[in-house]
Symmetry: C2
Subunit: 354 residues, 2 copies
Amino acid sequence: MRPTVIDIAREAGVSLATVDRVLNARPGVRDKTIRAVNEAIVKLGYVRDLTAANLARGRSYRVAVLLPDTESQFIQSLADALTEAGSAAATSRTELKLHRFPAEDPHALAAVLSTLPDRDTVGVALMAPETPVVRDAVRSLRAKGIPVVALVSDLPNADHFVGIDNRAAGRTAGVMMGRFLGGGPGQVMVLGQSLLARDMIERRRGFDEVMQRDFPGLEVLQSLETHGSPATMRQVVAEMLANAPHVRGIYAMGGGSRTLTQTLDDMGLSGKLTVICHELTPHVRTALERGSITAVITQNTGHLARSTLRVLRAKADNQPLDEGQEQIRIEIVLRENIPPLPDSTRPSLDDKVA
Amino acid sequence: MRPTVIDIAREAGVSLATVDRVLNARPGVRDKTIRAVNEAIVKLGYVRDLTAANLARGRSYRVAVLLPDTESQFIQSLADALTEAGSAAATSRTELKLHRFPAEDPHALAAVLSTLPDRDTVGVALMAPETPVVRDAVRSLRAKGIPVVALVSDLPNADHFVGIDNRAAGRTAGVMMGRFLGGGPGQVMVLGQSLLARDMIERRRGFDEVMQRDFPGLEVLQSLETHGSPATMRQVVAEMLANAPHVRGIYAMGGGSRTLTQTLDDMGLSGKLTVICHELTPHVRTALERGSITAVITQNTGHLARSTLRVLRAKADNQPLDEGQEQIRIEIVLRENIPPLPDSTRPSLDDKVA
DNA sequence: TTGTATGCGTTATCAA
DNA sequence: TTGATAACGCATACAA
């Protein structure tokens, strides 16, 4: 039997309440008493039963997540993963509220954020570009004691960042590109939705780092901005390919993979270039199978979602987090190692039981 | 506020005890009453608070994990991860007992297994080759209602397998090898500790699959067995390299990476061959940095450990598991994307508080 | 500065 | 077949 607070109280010769005060570092206990209790704790090897503690506290974790309302498949998948993680976490008294906001309107986001501490929200997760408005909103939340987690793209004044190390992701893209092109010679195109977003900047930096150091024979062209617009993407790619005759690879740092492969298809270039992009969405999957995309750097949305919830809970409880568990891994997917789709159509447990 | 058993009781016009009986499918309740309670449950959207239930039951999860006592760095790392995950899980009434057994002696393992249900062990995780003795032991445990989880290497009659898809891992190794060698021509050596182990067989199969289909210009030589003996490894590699003059790559399917790189160093071949191996141990790390290993296929031991505990708990509770979360990812590590070491030397929270 | 008593949501014992 | 009621380990309002 594991020792309980009662055992500690008896051993230390004090009451339950005093043990609790020491355990939770509450004021109003004599140093001598504190020591006595602590000695009893180590002597008996007490570890607090968190589940019982939470039950007694009647604590529930109301958590808000804000996502842009882009119809990007990645964001959609993330939203799904969050909803699922949310309902799975319901068993552990965690409730998740998912908000969407107009992607290009930082003020709309700020508006949502300001109305946010509606009840007893214990934490907020946020996927948004770093604008002054967002910065202020985050600061004000934190001032209220509400922890803020940056999702996918880092925010400098957030309590925590849930997402991959984008610099390392860029480096990884670099190695793959360099290796697959056999070191050169040739030119490499780089595309990004918005070159101001923090994650894009870091990916580019990591990419350049490796290309310059390890593959000097390959010339990396200037980043091109697509603004998430298919038309711009088409135009930009066509222009570049016309002007730079030695392009052998394309690194699409984020977004628009669907348009990109279509454009390449239309130009009859599918399969002739080494194309590396991010996020294994359904479209990217098939492009990978067809050979129009060579490699994908991806992050698991399920992991992102679960980590977000765990981190927010830990922050709310002021508890340390398991860094190892919360580190989102960079996954490399090639045609030959595409992970199987989770079969959501298989008979559920209920079916079996029934 | 979430509804509780009390709300259900009131709604259905029965007592707490009756609700409990229905909830836990205990006998001695009239059909009509059962229906009334169930209606109240769906009407109020009741979900049982598992933590409270476990508290009342006084339930604790005593779990046993059995690992071979090899001094392999991978297994050592796994053991550490398990111990850590175990102490982290102590807060949630989960207790882990780690056993080591002589690697080459299946009977010793069986002996440990038979003494195992010492108290109220709710589950067993096991990393062991598939021998008749092991098969029987697993069967007998399962017959007693104790779920058994196979760790790292699959066991056909286990309840669950915690580890990577080894076939896919072999395929991944294949792509990397093929791509990095530019498709050929050349020869590729394959090494394995024991060619009988299930994981080795599957890796080889996946590797061949890709090499044959996508890189016919590369000749894959017969697998060589090293039996975990440094001497054998040296001899086998030296012989092979002497006989096969066009070897450009080596796929080390498991174990002995340390000896392999030393052998290559001694022969002055370090950095001249494309070497792919498994598990990012400290030695492999430095070999990767030095360039004597090209790529590593690895699985995160922290993830393995946590998944093991989660799965055993879920099985013990007869609860469904989150397949997505329990799928162990295959990670590809190259010199340029070596993950940072977790700094276990940084000041702990206690230090900050003090 | 310390202690008593009660409740959190569920299970389980005993009596009706 | 059903219902009171006392646990489980911990937190906390209130009293001392």
